[in-house]
């Protein structure tokens, strides 16, 4: 299989380059900074746009097609945080609460990585099942809850923060409201509704993602030093685990009857580590956990790894697995 074509297409996409520009600007100590209104506005846009588009596609999905992939997705969401936690604690020798926090991030999913995957598949004209965005929304939450429970057992601070980090708080968090609400609006409005909002929420989506990734790059660049401090184990973890999760996700997807496109998306979701929903939840529910440990690896290692190497690889694996 030719991996170089897609790889260079990924590497040279405006999205990846904007991320790299942001990292470079931060390392060069540029005064470029996104104001609050812009950063938050971009996040709101992306979450809502993904929800709306996904929701509109949901119309006409038969529950019968949906349940097997749903089970596969939930299995991933439960298993990934558990073994990440064990690994980080035993082999990585991280404190319980840090291990739990990182587990929550890697068990949850990244909407930006998901978008990069969709862009990649669209570029190859590969289709995927219409319920994948719904899986994205569903997969965001469980691992965060699991990670929080794991961390809470060990941390007095987290226990006394116990009124937070509950299911209720997660389901009313910005991320769930926009993604879930967007899905509902898209689904209820159907293609007629989507046609009305597409010129804002679909056509320029890729450009907005590029702008957002410039901002993500700025944060990542500022956080690179954290990575160095947190040691080689974490950095290795942030490459190896996504690869394993990606392969596993593709395999489970195939077993659940997804086509190559859908299996690639499921692999990508499994491989991705959250950096919008999970940090916001963990910040409040596991305040003891160190942001240096849970923010930098997803941003600085896993995200670029997935976009540049992972997604093409998962797709290559999916086509091999499912075609044969």
């Amino acid at each position: 299989m030719d991996l170089l074509g897609p790889l260079s297409a990924s590497l040279l996409s405006p999205m990846v380059l904007a991320f790299a520009l942001g990292v470079a600007a931060a390392l060069l100590r540029s005064d470029l900074r996104f104001p609050e209104g812009l950063s938050t506005g971009l996040t709101i846009y992306l979450l809502l746009a993904i929800g709306l588009k996904g929701g509109a596609k949901l119309q006409g999905v038969a529950p019968a097609d949906f349940w097997a992939p749903l089970v596969a997705a939930l299995a991933l969401c439960v298993a990934i945080p558990l073994w990440c936690y064990a690994l980080l604690q035993r082999m990585g020798r991280l404190s319980t609460v840090d291990a739990a926090a990182i587990a929550a991030h890697y068990g949850s999913v990244s909407v930006v990585t998901y978008s990069a995957c969709v862009v990649f598949l669209d570029g190859l004209a590969v289709t995927y099942e219409p319920f994948m965005p719904a899986l994205l929304a569903i997969m965001e939450v469980p691992a965060i809850l699991i990670g929080i429970q794991l961390g809470r057992r060990a941390s007095a601070a987290a226990r006394s923060a116990a009124e937070s980090g509950t299911l209720r708080e997660l389901l009313t968090g910005k991320s769930a409201i926009l993604l879930g609400g967007g899905l509902a609006i898209g689904w209820l409005g159907g293609s007629a509704g989507q046609a009305q909002v597409a010129p804002l929420f679909e056509t320029p989506f890729h450009g907005v993602l590029t702008l957002f990734l410039l901002d993500v790059g700025l944060v990542t660049g500022r956080r690179l030093a954290d990575l160095k401090r947190s040691g080689a184990f974490i950095s290795a973890f942030a490459v190896i685990m996504p690869l394993l999760h990606g392969v596993l996700g593709v395999a489970l997807g195939a077993a659940a009857g997804l086509g190559p496109g859908g299996a690639t998306v499921l692999g990508t979701l499994a491989a991705s580590a959250s950096y919008i929903a999970a940090p916001a939840a963990v910040r409040v529910a596991l305040p003891d956990a160190s942001p240096a440990l849970y923010l930098a690896p997803p941003l600085a290692v896993t995200f670029p790894f997935n976009v540049v190497v992972g997604i093409p690889a998962y797709h290559a694996f999916a086509t091999t697995l499912i075609r044969s």
Partner: protein, 107 residues
């Protein structure tokens, strides 16, 4: 115009805590509060963006006993877990009654 002394408690806290902090303040008898957006750095690292979380700067004018209660509540319920900085200063206001627990509001 006669000025009387009151206490201003300023709380710098993660913006995620806004509604819970405000809830506590109201329980303790604050008659109002003012919030602005802030970035910052401290022992819990940098808080300067949407992804990393940002701070709020919460100001509440209260009478001295309430100030004491606010300080205690915030230090007990929030400070041990979260990176919160809190300071108190004495200020002068025109009609102190406005800021004393529920009673004496100017409306």
């Amino acid at each position: 115009m006669q000025l009387s002394e009151m206490r201003l408690v300023t709380v710098i806290a993660p913006d995620d805590l806004e509604s819970r902090l405000i809830g506590e303040l109201k329980t303790l008898g604050a008659t109002g509060y003012t919030v602005s957006h802030a970035r910052g750095e401290g022992s819990h690292g940098v808080r300067t963006s949407e992804l990393e979380g940002a701070n709020i700067r919460l100001e509440v004018i209260v009478d001295p006993p309430t100030a004491q209660r606010v300080v205690e509540r915030v230090m007990e319920r929030f400070q041990p877990q979260y990176g919160i900085v809190l300071y108190v200063s004495t200020i002068e206001v025109v009609r102190g009654a406005k800021f004393t627990g529920g009673a004496g509001s100017n409306r």
